[in-house]
């Protein structure tokens, strides 16, 4: 049911942020469609658009696990269904 989701990572830049997130996604059969990254006020800011069609666990569980990975690295990781952004910014 859940298809596209947006993952955002915001926090102090450090080694291996993308690696850890991508490893988790690969293990869970989540396909990355697009990545953009920028530095906002010295903060590492990354956005991924991912396809979760093949995810084998409940979406909420992936949300929690990504949050935990973030806490481990000291960054904030959010995973949200794409519709909230689509609805708000597109007519």
């Amino acid at each position: 049911m859940v298809n596209k989701a947006i993952i955002t990572v915001v926090g102090k830049d450090t080694v291996g942020i993308i690696a850890q997130v991508c490893t988790y996604l690969a293990e869970n059969k989540v396909n990355i469609l697009d990545i953009s990254q920028t530095i906002v006020q010295e903060y590492f800011t990354m956005m991924m658009i991912v396809d979760m069609t093949k995810l084998e666990k409940p979406f909420e569980q992936a949300v929690s696990e990504l949050t935990n990975i973030g806490s481990g690295i000291g960054v904030q990781i959010k995973c949200q269904r794409e519709e909230i952004f689509d609805k708000m910014h597109r007519i």
Partner: protein, 454 residues
């Protein structure tokens, strides 16, 4: 495709500007629960509510987690109980029995409020309406989650002054019966004129008779988001101001529409309406008063406040209407005192009086809301305030409401603490001249001439 700036903007609204969906309210029709036996009636009500809404709270939490948007309240509105309990209830205490049943059902489901302990008496009171009204003080004193509302007038019917008089007395009695908790019962009791059938916000929510068996209504919020947007355009013209409010209201409402559709689909209950209201909370940065200050007022209550509120209310509607397929409920800016830190500050500073608030209710979506007044205020004076608000609603073809708390044992200068979303409030002075002879006349005020449109 969505870009990183847009994603960050949305998440900033949620994390720093208090954007949330204020409530998912499931409306439930209880007319088919009616029975002449009170026990059977209560059982029917309990079964129907706990059956239809059993997944409401869980669904709300799931949606919240998946989209990353807080959904603050999950609530239920029901058919006005005076219509359901008529054949079974012979005394006010019988109605209290229903109130306890509703409270139990709400507790079981984990919803924080259930609205619809109500009667619609805009033209006249039936026997069961009157019994229900007389049961309100006790019902609110012995329950936690019940909200009660009485509609005493409308543009089409005029104002039922007998009900207005009675409600003054009932508010006093409710204050007295909950005096140990700063008369908290009155915070869950609202007197309305032109009450909408599909309002998802408490205390005035009920499931009107024009509604289907069950429905999902959603109330959005986001005063903080509007305030932040306005901070970026300080000193700009009214054209820029209005455009900014409109654009922000559109974005906020789209989130509400998404949540409403998801909730409706998952619960398999039709989507009713989105209520486009700016509903403040006592949290800093979640205040309608701060928007008014950002528009250019030192404090709400200063000259210009009514105009500022009028434009805010109108732009919120204009932005929101396009964002949602169905709009209803109250839809506008709420101006409660105790639930809005900026309003509290304005009262403490001496900028805001009840008379100015009354003027503001002419142009916003509600009325005199969450205002603490001295416990010594007479029932007739409270009825007079209800009559004034009802007249504003009746003549302007809009909803108005009175939710005031005559706090037993407190006087002007004291502060009252309600806790949680209900906040705290300084006790405000009320005009001390009498309206007793006016209120005691009896009967009703006829509908205004412009209501005859047939």
């Amino acid at each position: 495709m969505i870009n990183i700036t847009e994603v960050l903007e949305t998440n900033k609204m949620i994390e720093q500007e208090n954007l949330d969906v204020r409530t998912i309210t499931m409306g439930i029709n209880l007319l088919d629960c009616a029975d002449s036996n009170l026990e059977v009636l209560c059982q029917n009500i309990y079964n129907k509510i706990t059956g239809l809404a059993k997944n409401l709270v869980q669904t709300g939490e799931d949606i919240s987690k998946e989209f990353g948007i807080p959904i603050v309240n999950k609530r239920i509105s029901i058919t006005p109980i005076a219509l359901v309990g008529g054949t079974a209830c012979k005394t006010p205490d019988d109605y209290v029995q229903i109130a306890k049943t509703l409270d139990k059902a709400a507790g079981e489901l984990g919803v924080n409020f259930i609205g619809g302990y109500s009667a619609i008496v805009s033209k006249g009171m039936s026997r069961s309406d009157e019994l229900l009204i007389r049961s309100i003080p006790k019902a609110l004193a012995c329950t936690e989650r019940i909200c009660s509302s009485i509609n005493v007038g409308s543009t089409k019917t005029g104002i039922n002054m007998d009900a207005v008089k009675l409600m003054g007395e009932i508010i006093k009695e409710t204050a007295e019966m909950t005096k140990e908790r700063d008369s908290l019962g009155c915070a869950k009791l609202v007197v309305l004129c032109n009450a909408p059938d599909d309002n998802p916000f408490m205390a005035g929510a009920f499931h009107g008779v024009s509604e289907p068996d069950a429905v999902i209504n959603v109330g959005v919020s986001g005063p903080g988001v509007v305030k932040y947007a306005l901070e970026q355009i300080r000193g700009k013209s009214f054209e820029v101001l209005c455009e900014t409010i409109k654009r922000t209201a559109f974005k906020i409402t789209r989130v509400g529409q998404l949540v409403a559709q998801e909730a409706s689909r998952r619960l398999n209950v039709p989507f009713g309406i989105i209520d486009l209201s700016l509903a403040p909370t006592p949290a800093v940065g979640d205040s309608v008063a701060e928007i008014l200050q950002e528009i250019g007022l030192e404090y709400p209550g200063a000259p210009g406040t009514t105009a500022a509120l009028a434009l805010l209310n109108d732009q919120v509607k204009k932005g929101g209407v396009m964002a949602s397929s169905y709009v209803g409920g109250l839809s506008g800016a709420f101006i409660p005192v105790s639930e809005d830190q900026g309003m509290i500050d304005a009262v403490v500073a001496g900028a805001l009086t009840i008379e100015k608030l009354e003027a503001m209710t002419c142009v916003c979506s509600v009325g005199l809301d969450m205002i603490s007044i001295p416990g010594s205020t007479s029932a007739a004076t409270i009825s007079g305030m209800i009559a004034d608000e009802s007249a504003i609603g009746m003549v302007n073809q809009k909803t108005t409401a009175v939710r005031i708390i005559p706090v037993v044992g407190k006087e002007v200068g004291d502060t009252v603490e309600f806790g949680g979303l209900l906040g705290y409030a300084p006790v405000m002075p009320v005009n001390r001249f009498s309206c007793e002879a006016f209120v005691n006349r009896g009967g009703r005020i006829p509908a205004p001439i412009h209501s005859f449109k047939n």
